[in-house]
């Protein structure tokens, strides 16, 4: 009979997971320390740092929303063609032909709204906590850039359904880019791949939304989390000191 202990002792298991069943603190430490995905965490954390009311888990929830967006976005990509009028027809297919297509699109859309809100709330929480102070100055700057990237991702994604809502919302934004002194018309041309919003703009927004911006965001998140870790975890006021003014 193969019991759990025998499986976790086997050579095959140990080649995958390099520690025993986490029933001792040593193995619990190794579970975090020797795991690629968990090694962003220290082995031990201060109790104050993981209380819900300290951070409301806003940073982690932002990351969770991003994860849901990547998964639902990838699945949407299986059905989507960035061309006119096929893009809009694909929306109709999602609605009437694809199994759970409406759910998939809804999940992507509401997760996107949630992520914009969560990232902004995370920034606000960090500001009020004063967590941007030395040595975390530059991580705050990276955080602001991540917020800008989140908004840009949301903006580029907004055009992709190619309906009236998408077209005119992006028109408002593109006209703002046009207002940049001197460079405006060039900025608008670069963004749209032309002077009007047409198929060229759609493919640009598609590439930005599905490739360039998510990759930048991923790298940004990695650096952001790495710096949190290097600075000794999330900011906590010195013990005994209460709220932040």
């Amino acid at each position: 009979m193969m019991d759990l202990a025998r499986i976790t002792r086997s050579r095959v298991f140990r080649s995958l997971v390099r520690h025993g069943y986490p029933d001792s603190n040593r193995n619990r430490a190794l579970a975090v320390f020797s795991n690629f995905f968990l090694h962003v965490h220290p082995v031990k954390v201060r109790l104050r740092a993981i209380r819900f009311t300290r951070t409301f888990y806003l940073g982690g929830l932002s990351l969770a929303a991003f994860f849901l967006l990547v998964v639902s976005g990838l699945m949407l990509m299986f059905y989507y063609h960035p061309s006119v009028p096929r893009a809009y027809e694909d929306m109709k297919d999602l609605e009437f032909v694809v199994s759970s297509g409406v759910f998939l699109r809804n999940l992507h859309r509401w997760s996107a709204h949630a992520m914009v809100a969560l990232v902004f709330l995370h920034m606000t929480r960090v500001f009020f906590a004063g967590a941007y102070r030395p040595p975390r100055e530059f991580n705050w700057v990276i955080g602001v850039l991540l917020f800008v990237l989140t908004v840009l991702l949301s903006y580029t994604g907004y055009l992709l359904p190619w309906d009236q809502l998408a077209f005119w919302a992006v028109t408002v934004g593109a006209n703002m880019a046009n207002a940049v002194p001197a460079l405006g018309p060039y900025a608008k041309f670069l963004l749209l791949g032309g002077t009007t919003i047409n198929e060229n703009a759609l493919i640009r927004f598609y590439v930005l939304h599905c490739m360039l911006l998510p990759m930048l965001l991923l790298v940004g998140i990695a650096v952001h989390l790495w710096r949190v870790r290097k600075d000794g975890g999330i900011y906590l006021p010195p013990p005994g000191e209460g709220e932040n003014p």
Partner: protein, 241 residues
Amino acid sequence: MSATRFAAEPGEDARAVPVRLLVVQEEERPAVDASAEPQVMTFPHLLIRELCAFLALSLLLVVLSLLFDGPLEEIANPEKTPNPAKAPWYFLGLQELLHYYPPLISGVILPTLVIFSLVVVPYAHVNVTRAPFAAGSPAERRRKLGWLWLATAALTLVFLFTGAHAVWPVIGPLWFCALLATVPFLSDAKRGVIGLLARRSLPFWVYFWFLLVATALTLVGVFFRGPGWAFTLPWRDGVYH
């Protein structure tokens, strides 16, 4: 803050340049700070919390997705401009600003200023010290109160007269914050709500103002704007998308 008392450059290859140099640094890094406060193992205490938070968010979004369908209108038509043409909600604050200022100011200069201000937050001394705004000697307090209301008056004039319309979603929150920040100058209470206000720093008030302005502009843009960006009441005319 770190202060290096003595530092020297060691050789790149210790075998080629067999010199041992002592580097004495006085450095305080949170990463190596010893503290006596309670700690727990990451596995399982933090990981279970992360998992629960992730599942709770997923559940919420799944339920939302089952109950509410995202909007899909007719196919894009450059010939047919909807009225009003609204951006997604997180841009409606900016779009609301377009009502008051030309695109150069509302779409380029003001957003750039906001992002720039956010980026430089940690590099400004006032944001690092975060001293209570109402603290100080009586003379200092009088000076601070004077500056507070001078700035409030100046900003009020700017937002009253420089736009195509008076920018009430900016002026309203400004006065709300200025009045709240003034309360501790009128009373020396250390406890309760007044005590809470008295401990707030200037950066707190500025960010609070920014937060209220962003909220007010967004709410007005989402709920109170109709065809031609005219003011509407959502309970009377409904919400325009």
